[in-house]
């Protein structure tokens, strides 16, 4: 994992610039400290975290909008959310319960937890994106959002891995 991580870092550095451009394209505001194309540029950790936060908010926004739309159109009060909430596959990951625990937990553990959540969502999102494409009756907005979420999740994962490498 370490060797792969090392090679990943080089890849991520390049990917960081790409994702930076993608982020700005997506409307996620970020301050371009590094001019495009410069390779030796290093973003501050604060900036990386800031971006990760904004990205995760964006993902949450997309997914809640997508869920609401789906619920309205197809679920019609059949209580899908109950099933969804209770059968979440990442529920087994132990997150800090409240503020005290969150402040006491070691930051490495917290970051690894985040990575765990993101990685475990990677495959289901890919599956979702591909399946949703095949549904012909689905409206364009749901399709687009599903694909977008999958993509952004990957970006976020990359960003978090970058942060983990730096911390």
């Amino acid at each position: 994992m370490n060797t792969r991580g090392a090679s990943l870092k080089g890849l991520l550095l390049a990917a960081l610039l790409v994702s930076h451009m993608l982020l700005t394209k997506e409307g996620v505001t970020s301050m371009p400290i590094c001019p495009n194309g410069s390779v030796n540029c290093q973003l501050s950790l604060e900036e990386l975290f800031d971006r990760a936060v904004k990205l995760s908010h964006y993902i949450h926004y997309l997914s809640s909008e997508m869920f609401n739309e789906f619920d309205e159109r197809y679920a019609q009060g059949r209580g899908f959310i109950a099933k969804a909430v209770n059968s979440c596959h990442t529920a087994s990951l132990t997150t800090p319960e409240d503020k005290e625990q969150a402040q006491q937990i070691h930051h490495e553990d917290l970051l690894n937890l985040i990575l765990g959540v993101l990685r475990s969502w990677n495959d289901p999102l890919i599956h979702l994106a591909s399946e949703v494409q095949r549904i012909k009756e689905a409206p364009e907005t749901i399709l687009w959002k599903a694909v977008e979420i999958e993509e952004q999740n990957k970006r976020l994962l990359e960003g978090m891995e970058k942060i983990v490498g730096r911390v």
Binding site: V53, H57, H60, Y61, G79, I81, A82, V85, N86, C88, A91, T95, P96, E97, D98, K99, A102, Q103
Partner: protein
Amino acid sequence: MKQRFISSVPIILQLALTTVGLTGQSYPGKPQIIRCRSLEKETFSCWWKPGSDGGLPNNYTLFYSKDSEEKIYECPDYLTSGPNSCYFDKNHTNPWTTYIITVMATNEIGSNSSDPQHVDVTSIVQPDAPVNLSLETNTSANLSYLCAKWSPPPLAEASSNSHVYHYELRLKPEEKEEWETVSVGMQTHYEVSSLKAGVKYIVQVRCMLDLGEWSEWSSERSIQIPKERLPPEKPIIIKCRSPEKETFTCWWKPASAGGLLTKHTLLYSKEGEEKVYECPDYKTAGPNSCYFDKKHTSFWTIYNITVRATNEMGSNVSDPHYVDVTYIVQPDPPVNITLELKKSIKRKSYLVLTWSPPPQADVRSGWLTLEYELRLKPEEGEEWETIFVGQQTQYKMFSLHPGKRYIVQIHCKPDHHGLWSEWSPEMYIEIPTDFRVKDMVVWIIVGVLSSLICLIMSWIMIMKGYRMMAFILPPVPGPKIKGIDKHLLETGKSEELLSALGCHGFPPTSDCEELLIEYLEVEDSEDQQLMPSHDTPSKNAKIILKEIDSDSGRGSCDSPSLLPVKCRESRSLPSTLQTQDVRAKEKKGGKGSWDTQCAASTSEQKTLPCESKKSCTWLAAQLPSNQAAMFAYHSTVEAFKITLNTTNVNTSPVFVGNEESRQSLYPIAETVYDDLEKINEMEYSKTDQTTVQVRQNEHGNKSPFLNPKLMDYVEVHKVRQDEEPTLLLKHKENNGKTKKGTVPGTSKEYTKVSTVVDHHILVLLPDQRSQNTPVSQEPVPETSQNPQESQAEKNTSYSTTTPSDSRRDNSGSDYMDPSSFMPSFK
């Protein structure tokens, strides 16, 4: 006596009556029978009303008779039915008879009796109202109904046969006016079912015998119908909020319980868990709420919250509400809002607004990050201006109007998905007006200065108005012709004028003729092409013509000095020359006079070289030096080029010069010059040249400007090769040069003079006629740019064709228009 006794009797009677009246006693008033009524058709009673008293106790007696019998009976019972009544019991009552009843009132003085009353028992039957009315409500199976019971009216005598009464019941809700009447029948109880729950009803009963009248309504009885008993409706959860992301509260809307007592309970479960908990605290946050304190609040888990309403009849549960604490954060408004007036370096004052985050939010440790937004408006204004401030807790305001009052409010929101807080209480800002005064001073100064300036300007205008006008609107200049001095014209000294015009002496002398001769043009192309150019002389051509010689329009061939034969010969030139000539001519706008030159070339030449024409033009152009200095220059340049071109026939490398001479006339001149050198060098090698020595003396003189005077043109009488050429010099300065001789039959040729050597040798530029080279022309551009273009053409033509192409146009375009010198940008 008798009379006195008789008359005193009435007096005595009157006295007796008056004594009686004085004491107030008289016989009783007439009684009146009010009513006779029978309760059950077996007995009846009558009541009367006594008349006036008469002052003395009265006795009342009731007498009655039956039908038409005579016998009068007295009332059997005065007591039973009360005072002033008579009760006829069963024995005395006969339903089939009609009674005639009178009542008499008697006192000591007299008596009085009422009117007789005919009474038929059956018609006066009216029972009493029923009694003992009782009401009950029963509720069974969601229906409540009323049960009413009563007793028939009591009778004085307990009669053996129970009378059958018909009953009627009426009821109404307490608040309403209208009665609902129900016919009951003969039973003494009744049930009413269509009653509204929760309403108070009033009930009455009355009865009737078979015949007669309905009794009076019984006294009222009222009863309250109980409300419906239902299980409660579904409660609704309104919202859940967390002020600082550590605790949260949920509120719900209670269900209507149908009058019964309803109890609400809140139940929740966390995601992934099955266990259901109940709300830990119902009180802290008020009624219909549940407060989750820190211990009970978990993050990154979704709560499933429901509310249950319970009453006697049952319970009902609300829809589940899913809550994640992170997304329901709505902070309190910011606090400690302060204002400060500061002055910046430039002495401009501005306001700084500072505030603190709400106390409960843990911003310091970063658990919660808040963003702020403030809004402000002038006090009288309508619309708020909203400004997003971000995460900072201060704001500088610059752009406020002094002297106005503003209202400002701030609110905050967590940086992630959350809700805006309430607006903070209004804060008033008063902007000081200290810098108003400065503005005023500045404006006053500006006003004074500008008015001073205006005064000065107007003064100047008045004083020098005329000059200003002249400056602004300059007078239209008259036409200025170079070389022509208006004053000369005005003064009328014709000699000077004419000399200025270049005509030596006026009227024209033989010299002028010679001048004219020199201006002969060589036509080297056909009529056709030439004609149009002749027909459309350009303005410039006209101008120049005007300057030089009014006669020289068509003149060349018409001049006497020219041999017409030659002209024709010139015209009969090979057609190769034509097209390019035309081109050149058209470019120049048809300077007809200059385009054509009568061939000074000899008929000896097989091919009439353009050079000869060119030489004509050169000379022609050269002569009027004063006014055509410019033209001469240019034409000289052109001439150089032309010479270059002409000499280029021999050697191709010479063409290079033309290529280079693109940029301007000056370089052209230079290159021409250079080429000239080369040519001359070349010429050296050729021994079959004319015997005219060609020397290159101009090497040293590399000035871009060609001194036209050096390059005067001379008329050369070309002689046969074996002969020495003779020169007829026609310098401008030198009039009447000696002629060395003329060679008859030879055409006059013009050749460029390069130098004069030893005062008796003219160094001429070689003329290529003798070489019998094919006439090659190059297109001669008119303008500096045209040279460039034609240079390009030349270039191509160099590579592909003979230089003849280039030269053709040269001959036609030796004359340069002043307009042609103007660069015409395409």
